[in-house]
């Protein structure tokens, strides 16, 4: 049986990595949602150019793999004179990739608002901006929340990939630990999985709770 002491030795260096993982996660979350709103609204725009740009962006980033995008941004952008730290490259790639997925949630939620709401807002002589801000988005936002929760869980799982561009996140720390303590491989990877699970757990519970609340509202 493995003693508690082994875990007490392993956990501190893993927690150092967890700090980086959470940092990447929080920055990516912020940018993901900003991008999601821009691209989601862009795809609903009445100007064809904006609609076209949003569609191309969404399809490219949903059609290629996150890891490929990550490598592309980390290895290729320096060729164009943009030196990025691993952290910046990671956050950019994750936000662009998950932003594309989340934009579909934004679009779907906005489209699900009944037409009468638009017509009422027009009848009340609201500007398009007021219409979005005061009538449509507050209602659509509630519908988006479970989807956003799910995307955030995906994002947590995605952060593990930044270890492959040498950012010293949770997974990276675990791999370095394993290099020095090969005999403890099982313990290291189990603690790693459990730590990821605990980072995701609050979000999982939040999504469950939101899904139930949305259903109550509709019934």
């Amino acid at each position: 049986m493995i003693s508690i002491n082994t875990y007490l030795e392993l956990i501190p260096s893993l927690l150092d990595g967890a700090k980086v993982t959470i940092q990447v996660l929080l920055w990516s979350l912020i940018f993901t949602f900003i991008i999601a709103f821009i691209a989601g609204l862009g795809k609903l725009s009445k100007w064809m150019v904006i609609r076209g740009i949003s569609t191309v962006y969404i399809e490219i980033f949903r059609g290629t793999s996150l890891l490929v995008q990550l490598f592309w941004i980390y290895f290729v952008l320096p060729l164009f004179g943009m030196e990025l730290s691993a952290m910046t490259a990671g956050v950019i790639a994750m936000s662009l990739c998950y932003g594309a997925y989340a934009s579909e949630i934004v679009r779907g939620a906005i489209l699900s608002i009944p037409k009468g709401q638009y017509e009422a807002a027009i009848a009340l002589n609201m500007t398009p901006f007021q219409r979005m801000k005061n009538i449509i988005l507050p209602q659509a936002f509630k519908i988006m929340l479970p989807g956003f929760g799910n995307i955030s869980i995906e994002l947590i799982k995605g952060t593990a990939l930044v270890s492959l561009i040498t950012l010293s996140d949770l997974t990276y720390q675990a791999l370095t630990l394993r290099n020095t303590h090969v005999g403890l491989t099982t313990e290291i990877f189990l603690s790693l999985l459990i730590l990821y699970f605990f980072i995701a757990l609050p979000l999982i519970l939040f999504v469950r709770w939101m899904e139930r609340r949305v259903q109550v509202g509709r019934a």
Partner: protein, 236 residues
């Protein structure tokens, strides 16, 4: 040094294109595993033996909430300590397959739950055995409507195969990386990989959307037929 060299592109494209077969075969084998394991999980979840059900729910929740990359490392680096040494390809297929089987199980479950209760009762009334009930009555009705959803997961699994490069499977991305580090040109190889992914996954996604529309239309037509029969019935 120009930024994009076409000569190099044509030189490296065949190499990466060859590696695409590794990516595709990994996707297909892993997805076959995910579909089979998924069905087993979905059926076992309906067992009347509660501890088994809780174990399956807990385990699937855990697998779904943790990164597939870490699971791949676990399968590849840790199983040898238990006497199971796997080649990178097999380890990768098992890791991805198990991860996605939990998603597939959820989809099967939704399919199984949408089979009307009467079908279960009819199967019992006809004295079908448990296996017959599943294979002859429930699954043939549960699976066709969920094929598009399974297709979507097939595509996302395809896009997850670059993860296998982390456990030294030489698939497209790893090939591109090797080519890049040999020539110090990363732009062309990585762009080619991205392009190949897009070319394969975008049309498949459109195809699945089409299939979904087709299935929905058929469902609506069936409903319409049924309601017509109902309308006619009272007048006779």
């Amino acid at each position: 040094m120009t930024i994009w060299s076409w000569d190099y592109t044509f030189e490296v494209f065949p190499v990466i294109f060859k590696a695409m077969w590794i990516t595709l075969s990994a996707t297909i084998v892993a997805f076959a595993l995910a579909m089979v394991l998924g069905i087993i999980l979905a059926v076992l979840r309906r067992s009347s033996f509660k501890p088994l059900v809780w174990t399956i729910i807990g385990l699937s929740e855990f697998i779904r909430a943790t990164p597939p990359l870490v699971q791949l490392f676990f399968v590849f680096y840790d199983l040898p300590f238990f006497g199971i040494s796997l080649s990178p390809f097999v380890a990768g297929v098992i890791g991805l397959g198990v991860h996605y089987s939990t998603y597939c199980a959820e989809i099967y479950r939704s399919g199984i739950e949408s089979v009307p209760r009467g079908q279960w009762e009819a199967a019992t009334a006809l004295n079908f055995s448990r296996t017959q009930r599943w294979t002859k009555v429930i699954l043939p009705q549960a699976i066709p409507p969920i094929i598009p959803m399974l297709g979507n997961y097939l595509i996302s699994m395809f896009k997850d195969t670059p993860l296998l490069s982390a456990i030294t499977v030489v698939e497209m991305l790893q090939t591109a990386k090797i080519a890049g580090s040999a020539s110090f040109r990363y732009l062309e190889p990585f762009t080619i990989v991205g392009f190949l992914f897009l070319v394969l996954s975008y049309p498949s996604a459109l195809l699945i959307k089409q299939l979904e529309v087709h299935l929905n239309r058929r469902k609506k037509e069936n409903k319409a037929k049924k309601s017509k029969v109902k309308d006619v019935a009272p007048s006779c």
